[in-house]
C-alpha cells in the first residue's frame, strides 16, 4: 500500500492555508534576516502567527545589556518588549511602538495569499526626530551613568520612516516569494504522491475487473467444453444405431431390397458416417479445449503408419482417379508418438489432399529424417546454446497437385471451422475441423505443421515430429 499524502489538495489550497513555520526552513529564514541586518544593522525578528519566535538577528544591543543591570530600567524595557511582542498591527499592516529608551520598534504583519501568517519586528532603531536628551530614561534610575547611556544610545542604528517602510516592504516581498516557491514545492510533492496513488488505485480497480472477467470466461469455457462433450456423446449413441441398422438393411439381412431401396439406404448410411466423423472431430476438439486429451505415446514405427495410411486411402484415390504414392526414407528411426493419433494426422492430411486434387492429379506422402529447432525463442533464464540445440525429427510431407492455398490463408486454415472458400464445403464436403485437430495433435507431439506451395501447383503440408521427447517446455 502506498502512503497517503500528508494533506489533501483542498487542505493545501482552500482551507486553513499554510503556516509560515511549515513552509520555510528556519535556518533559511535566519539567513534572509541576516542579509537585511548586514545592510541596515537594525535588529529583526520573525514570529509565527501564534507568537512563536522563528528567527532573529542582532539581539545583543549594548544599550539594553547595560540597562539590564539596573532593576527599574530593566523592568521598563521588558515591559516595552513584551508589548511589542503582543502588538497587533492595524489594517494597514504596520505599527510603530516607542521604547522607554527613546528608540522605537516597527511591527508589521506578514501576509501570504491574503492571510496574516506572522509578524516581523524591526528595532530598536532611532528615528531622526527622536529626543536625544534621554531625560526620561535617565530619570528611571539615578545610578545610570549619563555619559555611558548617551554613548551607547549613539551606537543605535538610525532610520527614518521611509527607510523603515522600505526595509519592511522588502522583507515582506522576499518572504512572500520564498513562501510562494515553498508552497508550490509542497503542492507539487503532494500532487506527485497523490496522483501516483490515484493511478495505482485505478490500475488495481482495472486488474480486479479483468480478473473477474477472466474467471467468468474460464468458467464459461469449461461449461462449453463440458456441453460439447456431453452433446457429442448423446448424438453418437443414436447415430451408431442408425448406421448399424442401415448397414443391416443394405446387406439384405432382413430381406432383399430393390435397387432403389438399396441406394436410399446406402445414402442414409453414408450421411450417417459423415455425421459420425463430424461428431468425433467435435469430441476431439472439446477434449483438447478442456485439456482432457491424452496421447498414448510410445516408440512408433513411422514406415508402418505411412503404409497403413496409403493402403487405407488407396481406394478413395482410385475412385477419383488420383495417383497416391508414398516415399519413405530407408532406416527412419522410431519416433515418440501416439501411433493412433499419428495415423489420424496423416490420414486426415492425405485424405484432404486427395479431396482437393482434380482427376489425373497426384498425391505423395513422404517421410524423411531432418533437424528441428528445439526452441526458436530464447528460454527464460538463459541457456539458449544448450536448450536451443537442434533435435532430430521426422518430417512428413503430403503434397498434392490440387487447387492450392493462397499464402495469406495458410495460417488461418488451422483455426477450427475455417474454410478457405466456404463454397467448396458444399462441393467437397468437410467440416473445417480436420486441420484444427491436426494442428492440436501435432502440438501435442511437440511438433510443427506448416504449409508450402507445391510447384507448379498444389499444396504441401509439412509435419515435423521430434524423434525424442522434448527436454524443456
Amino acid at each position: 500500500m502506498l502512503p497517503a499524502p500528508t494533506r489533501s489538495l483542498d487542505e493545501l489550497t482552500l482551507g486553513e492555508g499554510v503556516k509560515l513555520e511549515e513552509l520555510v526552513d528556519r535556518e533559511a529564514l535566519g539567513e534572509i534576516l541576516g542579509s537585511v541586518y548586514e545592510l541596515f544593522q537594525i535588529p529583526l525578528r520573525i514570529f509565527s502567527d501564534d507568537g512563536r519566535l522563528l528567527a532573529d538577528v542582532g539581539r545583543d544591543v549594548e544599550l539594553y545589556t547595560y540597562l539590564n543591570a539596573f532593576r527599574k530600567p530593566r523592568a521598563a524595557v521588558d515591559q516595552v518588549i513584551s508589548a511589542v511582542k503582543n502588538a497587533v498591527p492595524g489594517a494597514d499592516g504596520g505599527l510603530t511602538v516607542p521604547c522607554v529608551s527613546g528608540a522605537e520598534y516597527q511591527v508589521s504583519a506578514l501576509e501570504y495569499d491574503g492571510r496574516v501568517i506572522g509578524r516581523a519586528i524591526l528595532g530598536p532603531y532611532v528615528a531622526p526626530e527622536a529626543d536625544t536628551s534621554l531625560g526620561s530614561l535617565l530619570s528611571l534610575d539615578p545610578a545610570l551613568e549619563a555619559d555611558r547611556v548617551r554613548e551607547l544610545f549613539a551606537r543605535l542604528p538610525r532610520a527614518g520612516a521611509a527607510l523603515v517602510g522600505k526595509i519592511v516592504r522588502h522583507l515582506a516581498s522576499t518572504l512572500e516569494l520564498v513562501l510562494f516557491s515553498e508552497h508550490r514545492a509542497l503542492l507539487t510533492s503532494n500532487m506527485h504522491l497523490a496522483s501516483v496513488r490515484e493511478s495505482f488505485r485505478d490500475l488495481e480497480d482495472k486488474n480486479q475487473k479483468l480478473q473477474v472477467a477472466y474467471d467468468r470466461l474460464k468458467e464459461l469455457d469449461r461449461l462449453k467444453s463440458n456441453f460439447l462433450a456431453t452433446v457429442s456423446h448423446e448424438l453418437r449413441t443414436p447415430l451408431t444405431s442408425i448406421i448399424g441398422y442401415s448397414e443391416m438393411l443394405s446387406e439384405g439381412l432382413v430381406g432383399e431390397l430393390s435397387s432403389e431401396q438399396r441406394e436410399f439406404v446406402l445414402t442414409i448410411r453414408e450421411k450417417g458416417e459423415q455425421l459420425l466423423a463430424l461428431i468425433k472431430g467435435l469430441l476431439d476438439l472439446s477434449k483438447f479445449e478442456s485439456g482432457t486429451m491424452t496421447l498414448r505415446k510410445n516408440n512408433t514405427d513411422v514406415a508402418k503408419v505411412v503404409r497403413e495410411v496409403t493402403s487405407t486411402l488407396q481406394p478413395t484415390a482410385l475412385r477419383k482417379d488420383v495417383r497416391l504414392e508414398q516415399a519413405v526414407e530407408a532406416g527412419l528411426p522410431r519416433i515418440w508418438a501416439d501411433p493412433e493419433r499419428l495415423r489420424q494426422i496423416l490420414l486426415n492430411l492425405t485424405e484432404n489432399a486427395i479431396k482437393f486434387t482434380p482427376t489425373a492429379g497426384k498425391v505423395t506422402l513422404s517421410a524423411r529424417i531432418t533437424g528441428m529447432e528445439a526452441n526458436s525463442i530464447a528460454p527464460e533464464g538463459g541457456g539458449m546454446v544448450i536448450l536451443g540445440a537442434k533435435r532430430t525429427a521426422v518430417e512428413f510431407r503430403i503434397s498434392d497437385t490440387g487447387i492450392g492455398i493462397p499464402e495469406n490463408e495458410r495460417e488461418k486454415v488451422f483455426d477450427a471451422f475455417y474454410q478457405v472458400d466456404s463454397s467448396s464445403t458444399r462441393e467437397q464436403g468437410g467440416t473445417g475441423l480436420g486441420l484444427s485437430i491436426v494442428k492440436r495433435l501435432v502440438d501435442g507431439h511437440d511438433g510443427t505443421v506448416r504449409i508450402e506451395a507445391n510447384e507448379p501447383e498444389g499444396t504441401v503440408f509439412v509435419v515435423t515430429i521430434p524423434v525424442r521427447r522434448a527436454t524443456i517446455g
Partner: protein, 242 residues
C-alpha cells in the same frame, strides 16, 4: 466551498476543464492579467514540461465585499492530456463550478467530446453528476481557421442547459465574460444551498458587479452576462428577478 463564519470568509473552488491544448492555462493567464492589483495573487503553475500542464495551475483571487466578507476564489486548471486522468480526478474533487474550455477547431471536435465524457466520468467517481454542477462551456480559439461556425454553436447552445461563450483567450477576449458567467452560476447554486445572501448579509448582484469591475470590465453586469449564447443564466437577470 469552505465557509468560515468566524473570520467571515468564503472559499470557492472553480475548475477549468477541457482537452489538451484547448487554452485552460491561457484563460487563467488572461484573468490574471485582467485582475486589478490586490485582487489576484500569483498565478501558480505546477510542474510543466514543454509548456504542458502536468498537475494544475492555480490562480487565487480575493474579493472583499461590503460587510467585510472576504470571498476567496481558487481557480484551477486540470492537465488536459489524456494520460493524466487520475490527476484530473484529484483536482476536480470538491469543485463548486466548472468551466469547460473547448477547442473550436473542427479537427478537435472528437477530443472535446472525449474530454467532456472524461469530466462526466470523473465527477461520477466523486458521486457527482454534471446536472448538479454549475457549468459553462467556452469555445476558445475563435480566431483560428476551420472552426465550428457561430451559427452551429448558437443553434446547439440554444438547445442546451449551460451557457456557452466564445473566446480568443490568447488575446483575452471572452475570458472574463466566461469567468463571470461561471462565478454567477456557481454563486447562485451555493446561495440556493447555503443561503449565503441572508447569512452573510450579502448582495450577490453587487458583488458580481464589483468582481467584474476588478477584472477590468466597465460594462454593466447585464451586458457581461448577456455575452453567452444559449443556456440558462437567468437567475440574476433583471427580467427574471421578479
Amino acid at each position: 466551498v469552505q465557509l468560515d463564519f468566524v473570520n467571515r470568509e468564503l472559499t470557492i473552488k472553480l475548475v477549468y476543464y477541457g482537452p489538451a491544448l484547448s487554452g485552460k492555462t491561457t484563460n487563467l493567464q488572461a484573468l490574471h492579467k485582467a485582475a486589478a492589483p490586490g485582487a489576484s495573487g500569483r498565478l501558480m503553475t505546477l510542474e510543466t514540461r514543454d509548456d504542458r500542464t502536468l498537475f494544475f495551475d492555480l490562480l487565487p483571487l480575493t474579493f472583499k465585499s461590503q460587510g467585510s466578507l472576504a470571498v476567496r476564489l481558487k481557480v484551477f486548471t486540470v492537465p488536459g492530456q489524456v494520460i493524466h486522468s487520475s490527476t484530473r480526478r484529484l483536482v476536480v474533487q470538491g469543485a463548486d463550478g466548472i468551466a469547460f474550455i473547448a477547442d473550436s477547431r473542427l479537427s478537435e471536435t472528437q477530443h472535446n467530446a472525449e474530454s467532456f465524457m472524461d469530466l462526466k466520468q470523473n465527477l461520477k467517481e466523486h458521486g457527482l453528476t454534471l446536472r448538479q454542477m454549475p457549468l459553462i462551456i467556452q469555445f476558445n480559439k475563435r480566431d483560428l481557421p476551420d472552426v465550428r461556425s457561430d451559427e452551429e454553436i448558437a443553434q446547439l447552445a440554444a438547445q442546451g442547459r449551460e451557457p456557452v461563450y466564445m473566446a480568443v483567450a490568447t488575446r483575452g477576449l471572452g475570458a472574463v465574460e466566461s469567468f463571470i458567467g461561471l462565478l454567477h452560476l456557481t454563486w447562485s447554486a451555493l446561495n440556493a444551498e447555503h443561503d449565503l445572501d441572508r447569512k452573510f448579509g450579502f448582495d450577490s448582484r453587487a458583488f458580481l458587479a464589483s468582481v467584474a469591475e476588478k477584472l477590468g470590465q466597465n460594462r454593466a453586469l447585464t451586458e457581461i452576462l448577456g455575452a453567452s449564447v444559449g443556456g440558462a443564466l437567468d437567475v440574476l437577470r433583471p427580467e427574471a428577478a421578479s
